[in-house]
């Protein structure tokens, strides 16, 4: 199947498996809730409308939060920005990682060494720490969060992509294209990249999950999306002290995040399992999910 539609067909195949369907349903329902949420919230998510940490009552099914805002409304409104930033960071990070990975694999020796050294340096920073480093000086701007998270994904993706791309580059059809004096850029884009589709799809799924976790984590630490806007991560933190009085302020966002990420992970697993062909994505998924690339360091 040609590259253009293969990725779509792959998603379709994955969605039809048992795992895929379950994962898609779980993740999809949370995404839907996050998108529609702000429009159907019964109260304003930012105004205090009830007592501090009041337990669930009619009109306030999830009770009140740390300053008396309606937990339900905040939960409904608190997801979309998180998802949007996570999606943006994922696409940016995976895109950069793919470019770096293929270039390192194909251009060989010197470029490979140089690129992988840069990758190694960036990999030394745990993702959360790197974001904190950047945010500490410039402040918690949404665009900065997006870039910081993207930059922390790119090296990991580059490693995984490079490993698979190396295997693809060994194959004779790449030699055959080179024999026609094709310029390097076109060989990489036209011959190598189309054979990395399932790797890239699995990475997109995995990194999206990580993006959500990191950004929620940043918000939890109060460095993410700033109050008073509703934000799941922030809610979990600010409502912690009232855990005994009204746990919903903490539990509801946690449940939503959990369903979303578990669903995503399951769906990504389904993609890995249904991928046919030469990329052996199930093994790659295992390794990538564990954070390493098969045949890692140069």
């Amino acid at each position: 199947m040609s590259a253009r539609w293969e990725w779509l067909a792959l998603l379709g195949r994955a969605a039809r498996t048992q795992r895929g369907a379950v994962g898609l349903a779980l993740a999809g329902s949370v995404v839907l809730l996050a998108i529609i949420g702000p429009f159907v919230a019964p109260h304003s998510p930012t105004l205090s409308v009830t007592g501090t940490f009041v337990p669930p009552a009619p009109g306030y099914p999830l009770g009140g939060d740390t300053i008396g805002r309606d937990v339900l409304s905040r939960v409904l409104a608190g997801g979309w920005l998180l998802l949007a930033v996570a999606a943006g960071a994922t696409v940016l990070g995976v895109g950069a990682g793919v470019v770096v990975g293929i270039s390192a694999a194909y251009l060989g020796r010197v470029s490979d060494g140089l690129l992988m050294r840069i990758v190694d340096v960036l990999l030394a920073f745990p993702p959360l720490v790197f974001a904190l480093l950047l945010l500490s000086v410039l402040g918690s701007h949404v665009w900065l969060i997006l870039i910081a998270v993207a930059v922390s994904h790119a090296p990991q993706v580059a490693r995984v992509v490079r490993a698979t791309a190396l295997e693809v580059c060994e194959r004779d059809f790449v030699r055959a294209a080179e024999l026609l004096a094709m310029p390097k850029r076109r060989v990489m884009a036209g011959e190598v990249l189309p054979n990395l589709i399932s790797v890239v799809m699995v990475e997109l799924g995995l990194r999206f999950t990580y993006s959500i976790l990191i950004i929620a984590g940043l918000s939890f630490l109060s460095f993410g999306i700033q109050p008073p806007a509703a934000n799941w991560g922030l809610m979990i933190n600010e409502n912690r002290i009232g855990l005994a009085a009204n746990p919903w302020g903490v539990v509801a966002p946690i449940i939503l995040i959990a369903i979303l990420t578990i669903g995503l992970n399951t769906f990504t697993d389904a993609i890995a399992r249904t991928s046919l062909g030469v990329e052996r994505p199930t093994e790659q998924f295992e390794l990538a999910a564990a954070g390493i690339a098969a045949g890692a360091t140069p």
Partner: protein, 625 residues
Amino acid sequence: MTHVHRSEEDQPPLSAPTAASAPAAPVAESAVVPGAQLLSVEGLRVVIAGSQADVVDEVSFGLDQGEVLGLVGESGSGKTTVALALMGHTRRGLAIGGGRVMFDGRDLLEPGAALRALRGARIAYVAQDPASALNPTLKVGTQLREVFRAHGTGRLGGASAEERIGELLSEVRLEQVQHALDVYPHQLSGGQQQRVMLAMAFACRPDLIILDEPTTGLDVTTQRHVLDTVRGLCRSYQVAAVYVSHDLAVVGELADRVGVMYAGRLVELGATGPVFRTPGHPYARGLLRAIPSPTRAHVLVGLEGHPPPPGRRPPGCFFAARCDFAIDACRTTAPAPVSLASGEHWARCRRAGEIIKLPPLAELPERDRVAEGGNEPLLRVEGLSAGYGERQVLSDISFTVGARRCLAIVGESGAGKTTIARCIVGLHSRWRGTIEFKGTQLEADRRRRGRDVISRIQYIFQNPYTSLNPRKTVGQIVEQPLRELFSLPRKERARRAEEALEDAALSGEYARRYPDQLSGGERQRVAIARALVVEPEVLICDEVTSALDVSVQAAIVELLHRLQRTRGVTLLLVTHNLALVRSLADDVLILRDGQIVEHGPSVFDQPKSEYAAQLLTDIPRLAPA
């Protein structure tokens, strides 16, 4: 004068015990009653686990003590599945579906059969790829000794494990390898690794050895050594063997009897001589006509199509779709084994009685050689030296290739033949010397070569499974050279691509398919079409048949020959298959360790060098018709 080439008149096999060591007389107590049949397979059936789709079925044969049975077939025939099932083992995803394997009075396929005690001790296995069958993290000695750990030394007639190991090493000719026991497998060569496998197999003096294509990937000389060792050991220990292979010539030299497998069925069984001389089954006959002979250059006849995979096998005879002799009854009901001639020769074909009377090779015409003379040298190589990094691979190679001739470059692996091909086409640029094409010097860096030159010299890769981009259609693949090297309107490109496909014997409708929908032979044809589409003058073929089945090879070989004749293409054939060389080549260049040993049109008829003569004798020979 036809007789199976046996080893009675050979020099003593390499494994003959030297004066220093005690003769390896079969002292060990064999539990088998002498004269009784050692192994009896009845209706063996292996299915895909969890389904009724059979991979192998109705396999029945017997084996006497000391007898060697060859099991031949192509990929997908089920021969390895049968071989493993003889030990009660199936690979993941398969399961025993029925039948019995009677060994020494016990059915090995019964649940609860004490297989572990038998495996390695009385029935041993030699795997196909020693590099992956030996554990990379354990030393060779450990892997040898653990056979004795598991089975004890009871069968050794009093010798200790260490003594026995010493004996084994000399029997397989490893005693000269320093510290053979203390090294890791990757430190040995392919041939040495295979000899370690043989040592492990013969260690406990088994009654039966199963060998699964043990010489695949070894070059002719090493293969000869391994075969002689196997034959010698089998003889001195009176060990029965089942030798699985796709190489009929190898089986022909070693086996007393031969069984031919096709699509999971045993389609013919008999003594080696009769089966290879006068086969009764059309498939066996077809195989024999597809194999190049090292002694006679005849036209090869391939078999179109491919065997039906498990789960999709038709009700009648599985071979009917590809069979020249098929009649209506063949397609509806499966044939039963038909007894032929004397004793034990039978074939699973209704018309076996007639077929047996048609010698397979008789009417195959000799290859008509391309006319010699008036051939200006198209390609001239002078003083070519090349290497990888520091390693020098070629030293001062000089030769010419005449127009419209076929030059075969042969040699062992590592001799440098692929390197020459890659230098000429521009895949390898670290070389010194001169390569001239029609008088113009070729640049080492292919990017500096003009489009014109590039289009005139084309390359066909060995592995058709990796030389086509799985994400492109056949049409896109074949058009690609046109797109890169010339600027032609789309319709013109499509037309030329279709022409090229037809030249490669594929209909135009293949253009819309993807490579993973094609068989190995079809893929290789696509690769050939891709090379043809720019109308080259030189076609460099790098081991283009090595990854293909025998019956498919023949078709590709004939295709190449036809191109040489009708299109006037000059062929440069890199290969290690010497019989193929005999069949196809006009000139032969023998390479050894990066240097030319011999070069000329009649190297195999009258070899001038010792090396060439040695190579000729090392080639395994099928029983000549």
